[in-house]
């Protein structure tokens, strides 16, 4: 069956869990920004773990379905409708042949997800369907969706999952995220680290899937933040020489030359993914042992 993109929304891409194994040649992972919403969407429609979904930023697409299909919307509440009928998020629903599904402006949160049963049949590139804009690969020609695109979905349905439900999350625009200090914490003064952990930072409107640029009190370094480039991971907090932190997200570069004061814990990344420009962020330090204990508790509480 086919899904016709009537209007794409400002920035809608196909994403899955990410592209692993190619960072050493400079090809980043990409993948969804909000892993919790992603996992929930696939579970709700009965997909296998890690199937590709649509990720919509700030506003969603309008999509015409040429056959009946089971879908679910998660993440930001985009006031999704079929025709004029509102659709409940975080539960599976049918879209009938000839109907148009419309995801509107994000009323809470920033990124909405649409999963369809069976997933989107775009080619896997290097083991993933995620769109990587910088490398122009994955998804549809490595680019965001545009009007007139046609997405193919497998034909078979199974409706045994129609009673699945998830708790609808509330997305605060004022969050505290946990941070493991390092790997270059020693490039910052005690005052600089205390600034990061005690001040509130505001999400700049230059933020995107690559990174959340934050505005706030400059983080003081010992003698500048230039380092001999090393690896960057999801959640790395690099501080540019102007002292402003940038949290690196799904479309981050693989390596970089600004000192990284800390790394946001993987399970708090979804909180950041749902922040709009103007939202505020605070950082709280945890040890790596604490961080990994919490990880083990979180893994099973993702969406059930």
């Amino acid at each position: 069956m086919k899904l016709h993109i009537v209007s794409p929304g400002p920035f809608t891409t196909i994403q899955d869990g990410g592209r692993y194994g190619y960072m050493a040649s400079g090809i980043g992972t990409s993948g969804v920004m909000d892993r919790f919403a992603f996992e929930a969407a696939n579970w709700l429609v009965g997909n296998k773990h890690g199937e590709a979904v649509l990720e919509c930023t700030m506003m969603g697409p309008s999509i015409l379905f040429d056959e009946d299909c089971i879908c679910a919307v998660t993440g930001a509440d985009m006031g999704t409708t079929i025709g004029n009928r509102p659709v409940e998020p975080y539960k599976p629903f049918w879209v009938q042949q000839g109907q148009t599904l419309t995801m509107g402006f994000a009323r809470s949160g920033c990124r909405g997800y649409l999963a369809v049963q069976g997933g989107f049949l775009v080619p896997e590139v290097m083991g993933s369907r995620s769109t990587n804009l910088k490398c122009a690969l994955g998804g549809i020609e490595g680019r965001p969706l545009k009007k007139g695109d046609v997405l193919t979905v497998p034909d078979e349905h199974h409706s045994s999952i129609m009673d699945r439900r998830c708790k609808v999350p509330v997305y605060s625009q004022n969050v505290t995220v946990r941070v493991v200090l390092g790997p270059q914490a020693e490039y910052f003064t005690e005052k600089g680290i205390s600034t990061l952990l005690n001040e509130t930072y505001v999400v700049s409107n230059q933020s995107d899937r690559m990174g959340l640029r934050l505005d706030g009190t400059a983080v003081e370094t010992v003698s500048g933040s230039d380092i001999v480039s090393d690896g960057i991971t999801l959640g790395s907090i690099q501080v540019t020489s102007s002292g402003q932190p940038i949290v690196l997200m799904a479309d981050r570069q693989t390596t970089g030359g600004y000192a990284k004061i800390g790394t946001v814990c993987s399970y708090d990344i979804p909180l950041l993914a749902q922040l709009k420009p103007g939202a505020s962020v605070r950082f709280r330090a945890v040890t790596v042992e604490q961080a990994q204990r919490i990880y083990k508790l979180k893994k099973w509480r993702i969406f059930r």
Binding site: G257, Y267, Q292
Partner: protein
């Protein structure tokens, strides 16, 4: 193997650091550890990212903890492969030196434009690592006289083919990207070309030599 410093990079990655300089010996140890890890197939390790002077290891904390993984890595032993005797493989990179930061470079270095060009194009640079962007080469051996700090605020867009200097490093932007390096000029050569079967032009271990070209030569090469 002594003197590896381990540091967590959040809950799912760690950095094994061999030094904080650009140095051939340090770099070869990094690649040796990467090989050691990939040969051992440690459960829970997802991938590694070798850089000039450190190795980032991405892992799943559900399967292996920071403490256990660093315990294993501390016991590693290997000999870094001798790369001195192999023949230098040089890739010539034509460069039209007309970048927006040339004036600043003159002020920062106290050298004339001609001197900067002659110094920059007068060395064969070893590719120590790839990263940052698809096909981006990190090169060793930039002359101290033309070291220059990165921009205090990175540009939001740098064009593909831009040749720049950031701190003690020089390199080429393979795709359009935000970036903080000072731009010296432009090459018509494509370091990353998704249309090609092998989209990445270079690999670590090869050498790069910049060759100054005129505007006319640049434009001819681009339109060809």
């Amino acid at each position: 193997m002594d003197a590896i410093k381990f540091c967590p990079a959040g809950d799912c990655a760690l950095i094994a650091e061999f030094g904080n300089r650009i140095d051939e010996d340090i770099n070869s140890k990094v690649h040796a550890l990467a090989r050691w890890i990939s040969e051992r197939k440690i459960p829970g390790v997802i991938e590694t990212v070798p850089t000039f002077r450190s190795l980032m290891v991405i892992y799943d904390p559900w399967r292996i903890s920071y403490r256990r993984l660093t315990g294993i890595l501390k016991k590693c032993s290997f000999e870094s492969r001798d790369t001195q005797n192999t023949q230098k493989e040089i890739i010539e990179v034509p460069c039209w030196y007309s970048g927006p930061d040339m004036d600043d470079m003159e002020k920062l270095t106290g050298l004339s434009r001609e001197e900067i060009i002659s110094i920059h194009s007068g060395t064969d640079y070893k590719i120590y690592m790839m990263g940052f962007l698809p096909g981006f080469v990190y090169l060793g051996g930039l002359d101290k006289r033309i070291h220059a700090p990165r921009l205090s605020t990175p540009r939001t867009r740098i064009e593909p083919g831009s040749v720049g200097i950031g701190g003690s490093q020089t390199g080429v932007y393979p795709v359009a990207s935000p970036g903080g390096w000072r731009i010296l000029g432009y090459t018509p050569l494509k370091f990353y070309d998704p249309e090609k079967e092998n989209p990445i032009l270079c690999r670590a271990g090869q050498y790069i030599r910049f060759v100054p070209i005129s505007r006319e030569e640049y434009e001819r090469a681009v339109t060809r």
